[in-house]
Amino acid sequence: MKKVINVAFCGNPNVGKTALINAISGAKLKIGNWPGVTVERKEAEFSYKGYTIKLVDLPGIYSLTPFSEEEKIAQNFLLDTPPDVIVNVVDATNLERNLFLTTQLIELNIPTVIALNMWDDFVQKGYSLNIKALERILRVKIVKTVAVRGKGLENLLDAIVEAFEDKITPAFMKFSRFIEIAIERVIEEIRGVLPYPERFSAIKLIEGDKNFRSKIRPFNLNLDLIDHISSRLTEYYRDDIAIIITEQRYGFVNGLLKEVLRKPPIYKKEITDILDSILLNKILGIPVFLFLMYMVFKLTFNLSAPFVEWIDGFFNGFIANCFKYIFYKMALPDWLSSILVDGVLSGVGLVLSFVPIMFLLYFFLAFLEESGYMARAAYVMDELMHKIGLHGKAFIPMVVGFGCNVPGILATRILDNDRDRKLVALLVPFMSCSARLPVYALFATIFFAEKRALVVFSMYIIGILVALIVGNLLKHTLFRHSETIFIMELPAYRIPTFKMLFSSMWLRTISFIKKAGVVITFTMVILWFLLNLPYNTDPGNTYIARASKKISFLFKPAGFGDNWQAVAAAIPGTVAKEIIVAALAQFYSSGKKEEPYESIKNINFWRDLKEELLSLKDAFLKAIGLKNQEESADEIEGGILSKLKSSFDEASAFSYMVFTLLWIPCIATLSAIYKEFGFRLVFLSISLNLISSWVFSVLIYNIITFLN
């Protein structure tokens, strides 16, 4: 029977913890979420020298105090499911701060290994460290690692096994005399009552850690004496005891480092600072940022478009025909074949057609994150964000929202308080997600040809502007606020490795497919019922069409009130925005269901397959620019092209795009909001979007027609 070693990786953010775990566990890494929250949880399980090693990666934290969700998660994990070994990943070039957390981890009384990561940077800076002395004083094992180059990994694993077998627990730091006396007194009070490490618990209680206090409530401990001790200490030191303890920790670390660390006082201007002088520049900062964002989206759009087209054609043409043929041969009734092909299959095709866009968008966003620029973006945007009562960090969920609103909602977790999270979650749906792109693509290509990239980009900008307006409104009404603290670390710039980028974008794309895919496919089937009943009549006669005709007058001021089809398409659009295009196609088509045999009469499997593969090759060429993207509006939706041209004009097309931009969030987003914040916010979100989509499309339509 193999022995199992449970290991927890713990450390500051930006120390390379993720890179280290990736390097150690390779393909065995699994990613999920911490239960009930949306912070990422990484785990791996593998064998090493006869042991089974189970790794858990804890979120990056500065301290084991509950300032943020990450810190709560880490504290709870370490107390509720203590590991056999703690691996404290430390940035060797920043020991002063990193060891602060170490002093706290040590109090958990678990065998600890310190991974001195970024060792190559440490050496390059000319620093030197007396590792043996440090090991002796702290009673931990120390391993030098360079995660991104895969160095030191085996040593680390060996150290983990050694720590497990030796079971040597680290040496606590000592505080000043009165504090030590207090700690002993508190330990007496809690001994045998609390199942948690004594010293750690005592210190937390003296500090007044709120998370810890709520954790121990079920034990019904009388805290009067402890509170008394805390206030006595605070009185004595004339400052809050929690602060004193923090300062003493730093005192200890600094004293320790004075003995073991040597740093030559060389002052070289680092690349990071040189870059920052441009990127964080008061004047250049925002334009540079906007430019980068524009490039990201332009590249994403242009590179992915040929593939999106191809996938769409592949599923709704080739594969659909294959299935129709099979069903015909199986003599399946018409309507069943239709549900399966027009409902389920086209749903699947729709979801998959987003993979190229998601892939690229997540690739670029991961690049910005890993390179360190994302933090600068938050900084640059801070002043602007401040105007809507948020701070720069709020910017990140919004940026993520540009890829897909769902992870954007989930990313609001990085904000420190509830009010900020809710407010940002309401604004994320105004960030134009990639699901809205097909609608823009369709209308922009038809009505704005050469200017289409610009028009699409303007949708993103309008979304941001509306978010600012709505945000301001909310700030003064429902979300009157308390001051929020802006503290953020700006990591050093680094060139991301392709491995890390790829794994990040792959995982996120897969999770989108899984989450959204099921919902959308299921919804397509429901939609099929809405759109096709009564069966086999004119599309203008379906229940949904009849309903839309009745209410389309509401949209006259927005310019598309005469098109009941456009209004009707918004209904399925409530469920998933990418469906709007398909819905439009459906409503504008003449509706006569062709005899099934007609469409598959000329099917020739091998010939058609070959054609598909050739056009896939073409897609690659188009993406890299070796073949021109034809003004392929003609290829997109065939017949509805001309119908749309005649039903809209430039102004109403633009206002319809704005309408789709601001319309009710899709079902996946709404379920994310429900999951995080409950039903009230879902209701609020729906109302906000409903109202603003009408208001702004009307506004914009009238402004455009007025200007012409």
């Binding site: 930006n14 105090t65 020991l95 809050d240 008061k282």
Partner: protein, 74 residues
């Protein structure tokens, strides 16, 4: 002792005192901004103030930075 926001870019200063509630101070201190430590003011604002603390760069909101008092290190 002067607020961090009053120093020029590139100044090396020693943190003397942090005003404000203990929540904010605890937060700042856990990230290394603690009385006694020497830091470099990379960017004194307006807008978020950027400090070099040890080997890390920390950006702090202007309002918070105004509450951190420091002395120039000769």
């Amino acid at each position: 002792m002067y607020p961090l926001t009053t120093f020029g870019a590139g100044s090396r200063v020693r943190i003397k005192r942090i005003n404000g509630g203990w929540g904010i101070r605890w937060r700042l201190e856990s990230m290394g901004i603690i009385p006694g430590v020497e830091v470099e003011v990379l960017n004194p604002g307006p807008g978020p103030v950027v400090l070099k603390v040890g080997n890390s760069r920390i950006a702090i909101g202007y309002g918070q930075a105004m509450k951190i008092l420091a002395e120039e290190v000769k």
